[in-house]
């Protein structure tokens, strides 16, 4: 069950600047996801690697097959 008063409390606590910052964060996170930068970050974290030519080449190799199978809509 949702507590309607908690919304009010949260709304008054969050300043417009914080909201703006949160929006900007989501916007950039979306761009990072769309452009596969997040996927690369996850790959580095999973494989315990730092970004380098070799690491990026390995990432591309691992992801290319899956990416090439994704249809693009008309």
């Amino acid at each position: 069950m949702k507590d309607s008063t908690s919304h009010v409390r949260i709304a008054t606590l969050v300043s417009p600047v914080e909201r703006l910052r949160s929006c900007a964060q989501i916007f950039f996170a979306t761009l990072h996801e769309i452009f596969d930068e997040s996927a690369y970050a996850r790959f580095l974290e999973q494989k315990q690697l730092v970004s380098s030519r070799a690491a990026y080449a390995a990432f591309r190799q691992e992801n290319e097959a899956a990416k090439a199978r994704r249809p693009k809509c008309c």
Binding site: A29, E33, E37, R42, R60, E62, R70, P71, K72
Partner: protein
């Protein structure tokens, strides 16, 4: 917020939407401002999302905030990743937004702005959004299964097979139509062709930069690529004004078709990292930026719509494509209202990213609303043009004549005054030799977009730059769909052939790659060639074929959805998916009947073939093409009729109690995100 205030706000939104719709529909003989379309769309979407999608989420699908999604249960950091809902929304929107919502409304504007606009709004709220939402949720509840897998599991083996063939067919026809739109946009245009040609070395440079200098910095690389593309557009002006260089980039439609076929084959057979992946990123970057810019431009300019509410062509005699408003408006606009292709995305990458079931509503239903708004913007871009200009650009030479004076006289006689001098001045202002007979929708959209941009950002001096920016945007966009689609088609054929002989299924075995790439490119290449050689411009026969194929895929998706809803014991709510299903069946079957059997040779494939055969110079190739189009249309209809019958049999069995209703969902696992606020 107090309940009474919420009610008042929603009441105000509904009244404003109704007022805007009434203004759109009832202002006969007067020009209206484009903002009425925007207001009507935004209010309709708001009400549809707030009430209808909430009803579907609560009553039909009973979204469960406590149930773990495959992104959580099968998290692997690669395909299955629980992702923020806004991020998934953006990702899903970027995947479903293609050239369709831009081109379809431009073509359908020949009926006037009303039929297309109403279909975009109603089709999205009651059809497209519902399809995307339910298929996404059903895929989430089945470990991210694809549409074809769900069709096989829930309807039967025949359903799975038909869905597979429908997907392959739509890919072949879609790619042919996309390629034809690019050919018609670039033919005899040295500026446009130069700009698009430059995207190849730019993408190569981006590939090298990304791989060696700044590994993984895709956004930065795409921004760099965008700057280079803008320089290429600027350089294109010099090319077009330097005759010795311009001849290198000036091609006929047939030459461009051959180049695109070669490109498609290379794109499918070669490794992707160097050229295609960077082009894909560049295309997405330009796409998202341009759509946002167009929205801002429309709001800033608030242009007047010059196209009438309805034109005389609702009777089926239209020059852009033949056929009456019903059913042809409804298959011409697919992606902005309902598109079967979206079901592939909703059962592809997106269900593997959804973090909570409840977020499927915003992603599935919401992203389709955003796509629908893009279609409304395309409709506005087409309708801000003077109707005479719109018809001069979009009418094929076979209808209005080749000579500018003859074409202008024909169009003026239709009641849309235009002179050859006006068209010449317009062509000059956008840096083209001519804008007559530029069928396909892309040039008309580009002129409309350039009009909006140049009047709100930069003035008339930039008209030519904006026009070629729009052409570059569309062509880049479409070529990305073309190379991605060719590869997807190749993989699907390889998967199928792998069952016949294992080596053919190996995606790294070059003989198989070359053979299957050749097969898929030959498929769409044939239809493209047919369109390029067609004296009626190709769009007249190919776009309806594409619309029929796309809507038939939506029919398959809605059959799957209705079957699952009934098996869930929610038969009383089955109208939610069965309503749009019945509408699509009526539309696609009627359209197919007309396209095959209509006695008007401009509409019916068979009567056109008969007319050609009876003519003085019977062209065997054109006659064969007409008969082939008729056979393809019939084959699509028969396949969908089969899946409809199989689905209906399943519904009757379940509803009569002869079969135990059992949905094949993955078992319930509680989510660890339950504590988060919904």
């Amino acid at each position: 917020m107090p309940k009474i205030l919420r009610i008042l706000i929603w009441l105000a939104v509904a009244v404003l939407g109704a007022l805007a719709l009434a203004t759109i529909a009832l202002h006969r003989g007067e020009q209206i401002n484009a903002m009425w379309l925007v207001v009507a769309a935004v209010c309709t979407y708001a009400v549809g999302y707030r009430f209808y999608s909430k009803f579907i989420a609560a009553k039909v699908l009973t979204l469960d905030a406590l149930r773990a999604t495959p992104a959580e249960r099968m998290e692997n950091g690669r395909d299955f990743v629980p992702t923020n809902k806004w991020v998934v929304f953006g990702h899903h929107f970027a995947a479903i937004a293609g050239p369709g919502p831009l081109v379809g409304p431009v073509l359908a504007a020949q009926f006037g702005y009303l039929p297309g606009t109403l279909w975009i709004l109603a089709g999205a709220v009651f059809g497209g959004c519902v399809q995307d939402f339910v298929i996404l949720l059903f895929s989430v509840r089945r470990d991210g299964k694809s549409l074809t897998e769900m069709a096989r599991d829930e309807i039967g083996r025949l359903g799975g097979l038909v869905a597979y063939i429908a997907v392959i067919s739509i890919i072949v026809i879609l790619l042919a139509v996309c390629a034809l739109v690019v050919v018609n946009a670039l033919k005899a245009s040295s500026w446009g062709t130069f700009t698009i040609a430059m995207t190849i070395p730019i993408a190569l440079l981006m590939g090298v930069y990304l791989r060696t200098l700044r590994p993984g910095k895709v956004l930065e690389t795409s921004a760099l690529g965008f700057v280079l593309v803008m320089l290429a557009i600027w350089g294109g002006q010099w090319v077009s004004q330097t005759p010795s260089v311009a001849t290198w980039f000036t091609y006929s439609g047939q030459a461009l078709a051959i180049l695109i076929i070669i490109y498609g084959f290379a794109a499918s057979a070669l490794p992707v990292w160097l050229l295609l992946a960077p082009r894909d990123y560049l295309s997405t970057f330009v796409k998202l930026g341009t759509i946002s810019l167009l929205a801002l431009g429309i709001i800033a300019l608030r242009p007047t719509l010059h196209m009438p509410l309805l034109t005389r062509f609702v009777d089926g005699s239209g020059p852009v494509f033949a056929g009456s408003v019903f059913p042809f408006a409804f298959i011409t606009i697919a992606c902005g209202a309902i598109s079967g292709f979206h079901a592939l995305i909703s059962s592809g990458t997106t269900p593997k990213l959804i973090r909570r079931e409840t977020e499927a509503r915003m992603v599935g239903y919401g992203a389709m609303l955003a796509e629908s708004l893009v279609a409304i913007m395309a409709m506005i871009a087409a309708c801000v043009l003077q109707p005479g200009i719109y018809f001069a650009i979009n009418s094929p030479a076979g209808i209005v004549g080749q000579a500018p004076e003859a074409a202008s006289a024909t169009i003026t006689n239709w009641g849309f005054p235009i002179s050859a001098a006006e068209m010449h001045a317009l062509a000059q202002s956008v840096g083209e030799q001519t804008l007559y007979n530029r069928t396909g929708g892309a040039p008309a959209f580009a002129v409309g977009m350039a009009h909006i941009f140049s009047n709100s950002l930069g003035g008339q001096a930039l008209m030519a730059i904006w026009y070629h920016f729009a052409i570059m945007f569309e062509a880049l966009f479409i070529l990305t769909v073309l190379d991605a689609g060719t590869r997807v088609g190749r993989f699907m054929i390889q998967d199928a052939l792998g069952h016949v002989w294992k080596p053919l299924g190996r995606t790294s075995w070059y003989p198989s790659i070359l053979a299957t790439s050749g097969l898929i490119v030959a498929g769409w290449g044939y239809f493209l060639w047919q369109g390029v050689k067609d004296p009626l411009g190709g769009i007249n026969s190919l776009w309806p074929l594409f619309g029929i194929a796309n809507q038939l895929l939506a029919t398959v998706a809605l059959c799957v959805a209705t079957t699952i809803v009934i098996k869930m014991g929610k038969a009383r709510y089955a109208a939610v998916t069965m309503g749009p299903l019945l509408w699509l069946v009526a539309v696609t079957f009627t359209a197919s009947w007309h396209k095959v059997f209509d006695p008007n040779p401009r509409i019916g494939f068979l009567s056109h073939a008969a007319q050609l055969a009876a003519g003085p110079a019977a062209n065997a190739r054109l006659i064969f093409n007409d008969r082939l189009d008729a056979v393809v249309t019939c084959a699509l209809i028969v396949m969908v009729a089969l899946i409809l019958i199989e689905s209906a049999v399943e519904w009757v069995r379940v509803l009569s109690g002869r079969k135990q209703p059992r949905v094949k969902e993955s078992p319930f696992v509680p989510t660890r995100f339950a504590e988060e606020q919904v």
